[in-house]
Symmetry: C2
Subunit: 475 residues, 2 copies
């Protein structure tokens, strides 16, 4: 797929961009082509990004090589903040700052799973975030297998006393990431359901689309009043193997050891950086990513790449010398993976009303395949202009309204408008929350297309004359 | 590649096979089509295997599910032998037996690698077979990096005192497996070279073509008089990361812990099973695979699949009811990975002169893409007949002479003739000796093509009237 599409994109990008911009955007070009923030200037920035951006990759390379995994609340995340401040300052951004907050910090311990009988062999397991510990000696118990979360939910209370529950389910590979909504509940809710029903522990099939021996971590949630139990994910090949064993009909016993621990409240923080706008009264455009990662990998796709993409795009505007009307703010959020602590801390400190539009890059580094808007009618011209300027990148306008990303979700819930440059998620869940999320997975050509798309969106919106204030609800 | 080729193969296989066999093999059909071992009968067995063989997969599924990893000298390998005897007996083979021998047994311990400075983060490492131990507290030392084995060899003696050597090199993806010959020396010889030059330990880039966080194990060799040192392999993404760190120019310190140990001599063994031939004086046809695997995975590709393929092919001949002239012997060898102990034990017990032709399946389960022969002139008709009968499977005759496989190498060295049904190795070194070598990697359609090809080869050779005795050297 990638190989078929990119040459076409590259061929498009190498054509004189005005051929596309003029034919598609005649209605807006007359009033915007006359200055440095006009369509021709934006198209030129877009095409330069598409052809030769190296900054997004360099930031991703730096975070993954010089810092590595960046679990929220750890000193590695703190090093990443310092690295980010140094890099953003050197790039020429203004008001570069760390904004700290405290958050409960969970760290991984030992993690092993062995089938004890009737087919002794080791399996690859990883603890889910907020899992309880088995203690050093582990838990040895019979497996009770469910195919779906609904089947587990249907099991009577106390029916699973002392068992290790297994929930298998299969995640479908989808371009729009919708497979996550289907399979995700096994990670999000099954552990709590198993605990309510008396289980000693739970292992789920990894929520992921790959077939490597790399289990997918991620947070699990405990319902109010439910006691946390040890909760892990098996790699997909191990889940396959366990299902085959269960199908043979004899009782299957597992010895599971997971020894994560809570460290209490530790410091985390957001990194912010601005391109100040010329109109201090105009609400700003916020572009977000998250700086923390899960601990199993260097978080190249999730989400060093997002920080690289938004920063590289904003830096092109900074370097153009044309000051935007509205401030462009970069938010490299902390503590996203473990519960949006950075997002909430940001929203508590910065009122939603200071922001006009929120957008986030947090779905890897593969190409943007559609753009979604949630803007007031007064900004329909901006949306049309972005749509026209994205067309040469092969990006159509989606009929789906934008909903924003995780790190700006409190702002969007507070009424801030949103634009989503949706990335192709076809292979995202091969890598998501696994040890495999490393720099080699980044396709530089697709990453450049992201930077080009973001350059367009930020350029247009930071110069928008529309009323992008938060709408007053009338009750 | 796979998807393009298989429909074509399947289309060929579904045609009446005589259309191909008759046009290509006119010279032999007149004397062989008149009985149950004639070309039509063999083509029919071939096509049935291609269309519906399930035995090869079932054996692979059983070994990987019910036994799992089968490290030589361990009780898991012993369980695999018992499983094999039960299965081969149930299938109706004769003379099913375990032939045991003693061998020095090495087992894996803890294995961790951390960059301590200047970019603290964990890496994925695995010990190479015959590695020494670092002790529980590990070794902390500066990395000295070499791009190739030749560069390491050029380093003066004692120049690496106390260092951890890294050897990076890149293995090329090749269809014929020749990339292994190019990159393999880093695993086979670099540790010994590093020890000679004073190194405290060595980590190499995995000898493999994938980019997953799954390091490739495999044996390393200590030259005469060289003291073993701890020796590990980093996964390819970790090797990339370490190379980037080194390129940044500051000294890089690693903390490496590998605690494998030698258990002394333990029992291993071969499993053999026969289809007795009608002529007890005719040397037999031996078909080999290996039953042991490395300990990191369930050894589906390496080499449960090989045992499945040769056994399924032989079983088709057994089921046909037409007794072959020559005995067909299956050798499920033990202890291949750790040094061909099973192969040597077999050859010590069974004189080469009892064997006419040796062949082995030990390169995964992807399609056979060419056939190689090393037969006397008197058997040129057999080679032609096999070539004709393999053509409908898309398998051409290679000009390269057959050399046989690892588990029959002592026999071939002793003068036994060989036929190699060479498998496509394009993805073999993605999986080789990694945790990823699991059942899901088997493509049942390609596996069936292997069974079909083996059915042809065993059918023809077990009925060969040629003089296949070991040639007498005249000195």
């Amino acid at each position: 797929m990638k190989k078929l599409i990119l040459p076409a994109l590259c061929a498009l990008a190498s054509l004189p961009s005005t051929a596309f911009a003029q034919s598609n955007a005649t209605s807006v070009s007359s009033r915007t082509n006359s200055h440095a923030t006009g369509n021709d200037a934006i198209a030129a920035m877009r095409d330069a990004a598409m052809e030769s951006d190296t900054l997004a990759y360099a930031i991703t390379e730096g975070l993954t090589t010089e810092i590595g995994p960046r679990l929220a609340g750890t000193e590695a995340e703190a090093r990443a903040r310092a690295w980010g401040v140094a890099r953003l300052t050197a790039l020429g951004f203004s008001n570069v700052a760390i904004e700290t907050y405290q958050m409960p910090t969970w760290i991984r311990g030992a993690e092993t799973a062995e089938i004890v009988s009737p087919y002794p062999q080791a399996m690859h397991v990883t603890a889910l975030g907020r899992s309880a510990s088995t203690g050093d000696s582990g838990i040895r118990a019979e497996i009770v297998a469910f195919e779906t979360v609904e089947q587990l939910r249907a099991a009577p209370m106390s029916s699973l006393d002392g068992k290790i529950v297994y929930v298998g389910h299969h995640m479908m590979r989808t371009q729009d990431g919708s497979g996550y909504g289907f399979a995700g509940p096994a990670r999000w809710f099954a552990a709590s359901l198993a605990s309510e029903r008396g289980a000693a522990a739970i292992v789920i099939r990894s929520v992921g689309t790959d077939n490597h021996r790399n289990p997918h971590t991620g947070g699990t949630n405990w319902a109010e009043g439910v006691s946390p139990i040890p909760a892990g994910a098996l790699s997909n090949p191990d889940a396959d193997n366990l299902e085959r064993m269960v199908a043979l009909g004899r009782p299957v016993t597992m010895h599971l050891t997971l020894t994560p621990q809570w460290l209490g409240d530790r410091e985390s923080g957001n990194v912010i950086a601005d391109i100040p706008g010329s109109d201090p009264d105009a609400p700003m455009i916020i572009a977000a990513c998250h700086l923390d990662s899960w601990d199993l990998a260097t978080g190249a796709f999730d989400d060093a790449a997002g920080c690289g993409i938004i920063t590289a795009a904003a830096h092109r505007i900074l370097e153009s010398g044309a000051q935007p009307r509205r401030t462009i703010r970069l938010l490299w959020a902390g503590a996203e993976e473990v519960g949006l602590f950075g997002a909430r801390a940001y929203a508590e400190r910065h009122p939603a009303a200071e922001h006009a539009v929120a957008s986030e890059s947090d779905f890897g580094a593969d190409r943007v395949w559609r753009v979604e808007f949630n803007l007031p009618d007064s900004a329909s011209g901006d949306a049309d202009r972005i749509t026209s300027l994205l067309a040469p990148l092969g990006i159509p306008r989606s009929p789906i309204p934008a909903t924003g990303g995780a790190d700006t979700s409190p702002l969007v819930a507070g009424g801030v408008w949103a634009i989503d440059l949706q990335q192709d998620g076809t292979r995202y869940f091969d890598l998501h929350h696994t040890p495999d999320d490393t720099l080699d997975k980044i396709d530089p050509a697709q990453m450049r297309q992201n930077v080009a798309a973001w350059t367009v969106m930020l350029s247009v919106m930071s110069n928008s004359q529309a009323d992008l204030g938060i709408p007053q609800t009338t009750e």
